[in-house]
C-alpha cells in the first residue's frame, strides 16, 4: 500500500520557537489532510490541501503542498503550550476511499 512518511517523529521546542513537520511520499499525493491529536485525545481535522503548491494559513499555522505533490508541511510560528500534541498528515488517493496516515510528529512545548 501507499507509504506516507513523516518527520521528525518527536520535536521538543521552547515556547515561542517555531516548529515544522514534514510529510513525504515516493508517489504523488492526492488530497493531503492534517490532523492534531492532543495527549489522550482523538485526532481532529485541521485542513485539507489538494492543489500543487497550495498554501493555507490558520492563525499561526501554515500548511503547504509541494509543487510536485510529493510532500507537504505544517509550520507553527511562535509555539504555545496549547500546541502540544501529535500532528498527523493523511493522504486520500483520488481513486479510493482509504486514507493513509503518516506516523505523526509528537510536539512538546517547554514553557
Amino acid at each position: 500500500g501507499q507509504q506516507v512518511m513523516q518527520i521528525p517523529q518527536y520535536q521538543h521546542v521552547q515556547e515561542g520557537e517555531d516548529f515544522t513537520t514534514y510529510c513525504n511520499s515516493s508517489t504523488t499525493l492526492s488530497n493531503i489532510q492534517w490532523y492534531k491529536q492532543r495527549p489522550g485525545g482523538h485526532p481532529v481535522f485541521l485542513i485539507q490541501l489538494v492543489k500543487s503548491g497550495e498554501v493555507k494559513k490558520q492563525k499561526r499555522l501554515t500548511f503547504q503542498f509541494g509543487e510536485a505533490k510529493k510532500n507537504s508541511s505544517l509550520h507553527i510560528t511562535a509555539t504555545q503550550t496549547t500546541d502540544v500534541g501529535t500532528y498527523f498528515c493523511a493522504d486520500l488517493p483520488n481513486t479510493g476511499n482509504q486514507f493513509y496516515f503518516g506516523t505523526g510528529t509528537s510536539l512538546t512545548v517547554i514553557p
Partner: protein, 112 residues
C-alpha cells in the same frame, strides 16, 4: 448529544475471547472507518464502510470482522483476540463528497 461515540472506552480481555467494539454516529454520515493506533505506526485502517451493508478491507483487516446493518452503527469484532491486537481503536465517519473525518473518543483495548 449529536456526534460520534464509542463503547466501551476501556476494555481488558483475555487471549482467545471474542470482543466487540461499538461505534455510533448521529450525523447520518455515509462513510465510517475503524483505525487502530499503535506507537510508531500512526493510524492504520482496519475496515471501512461506504454505506449500510457495504464494507471493505483496509490495511490491517486480519483478525477483525465488521458489519453495518444500519447507517449509524459500525461495530468491530475481534473474533479471537490476540495480544498483538492490544491497541487504541478509533472509529471515524465522514460525509460523501467531503473528506473531513470526524473521530470518536477511542477505545483502549488490552488483551492479556
Amino acid at each position: 448529544d449529536a456526534g460520534i461515540t464509542q463503547s466501551p472506552r476501556y476494555k481488558i480481555t483475555e487471549t482467545g475471547r471474542q470482543v466487540t467494539l461499538m461505534c455510533h454516529q448521529t450525523w447520518s454520515h455515509s462513510y465510517m472507518f475503524w483505525y487502530r493506533q499503535d506507537l510508531g505506526h500512526g493510524l492504520r485502517l482496519i475496515y471501512y464502510s461506504a454505506a449500510a451493508d457495504i464494507t471493505d478491507k483496509g490495511e490491517v483487516p486480519d483478525g477483525y470482522v465488521v458489519s453495518r446493518s444500519k447507517t449509524e452503527n459500525f461495530p468491530l469484532t475481534l473474533e479471537s483476540a490476540t495480544r498483538s491486537q492490544t491497541s487504541v481503536y478509533f472509529c471515524a465517519s465522514r460525509w460523501t463528497g467531503d473528506n473531513e473525518q470526524f473521530f470518536g473518543p477511542g477505545t483502549r483495548l488490552t488483551v492479556l
